[in-house]
């Protein structure tokens, strides 16, 4: 027979489960909006690429994963400046605070496409699937852009 402590524990656990499922229900009803997505066209022979985009979530969410048929893996990266060293750091997830536009831009946060199997050529599109903690999965057709002529500017200046 369960002790009172275990009982209380179970009650909290059930409450958390209920809370989580409510969250999931809300987030699944309204997945984050993804805009301004583009991928840097790859120089010849490149095995990596970077994707940039803007995420907005009305209720707040977290980007927890991404995938594309164009690459073996997609990682969430950020740059951390440390005593003159630009350290590219892999993030397990990226917080998307409620109502805030989270921008992934050149020289900052980006999605790194690892093991790009063939060159990503300007003018083509890459299917990118973004997975959020709230249960939402957002599929985006991302244009490949030759950034030598200048990176696309996001719609809202910052």
């Amino acid at each position: 027979m369960a002790s009172p402590e275990v009982g209380r524990c179970m009650t909290s656990f059930v409450r958390i489960l209920v809370a989580l499922s409510l969250c999931t229900a809300v987030a699944a009803a309204e997945p984050p909006a993804v805009s301004d997505a583009w991928i840097r066209a790859t120089p010849p022979g490149a095995r990596t690429a970077a994707a940039y985009l803007t995420i907005v979530s009305a209720g707040g969410d977290r980007l927890v994963g991404a995938a594309t048929p164009a690459a073996g893996a997609v990682e969430i990266h950020t740059h951390v400046a440390e005593a003159g060293l630009q350290r590219m750091v892999r993030l397990a997830e990226l917080a998307v605070p409620a109502g805030e536009a989270v921008r992934l831009e050149p020289g900052g946060r980006h999605l790194m496409l690892v093991d790009v199997s063939k060159p990503l050529e300007a003018g083509t599109h890459v299917a990118l699937s973004l997975r959020f903690a709230g249960g939402g999965v957002v599929e985006v057709e991302v244009p490949v852009v030759d950034a030598r002529a200048g990176a696309p500017a996001p719609h809202a200046a910052h």
Partner: protein, 209 residues
Amino acid sequence: MRLPAAAIAAAAAALGIAAWLLVGTRAQAPLEIGAGYVLATPRPLPAAELVDERGEPFRPGDFAGRWSFLYFGYTYCPDVCPLTLVELANLKKLLAAEPLAPHADYYLVSVDPKRDTPARLREYVAYFDPEFRGLTGSPEALAALAQATETLYEVPEGEAGDNYLVSHSSNVVLLDPAGLVHAVFTPPHDPKSVAADFTKVAARYAERP
């Protein structure tokens, strides 16, 4: 015999002015530039055996004779390296249209010789500009070059596979025609501002005694 006080004062003043002029011409204060700094005393590069994008040996002495912009990075870098190389390509275009700016060469120095062979470097840099050069070398040679150019980098050790990240400064290093480290441009590298700064630095260099 005693000199009049006025004569002593005049002599002292003349000496002072002479000393000021001498110091002034010998050690001019370094130029202030927009993003980065000019070294108070240009620094020589160490002897290091490098290899260029054609697989030919390259020594730091080979930089002498013209201005050189150096960027330390690696070709597996998805974001900040292509970004900087595009900025350098734009800088080169701006300088080509600027009659007062002297000619400069542009180098990507790969700190990741394990993955960046000369052939790989060659096709990579040419994508950004057909005249861009590539350099790499042994870890020891790269470490010596990095130290003299105030560049930091970190290649993870003992990586078996090909998927690892390299951390590096994102500075652009300027070598003068004597082959000395002359200035360091810190990010972000706005091509217009770097072009203006380089023109200023080169003009000051041309006026040196």
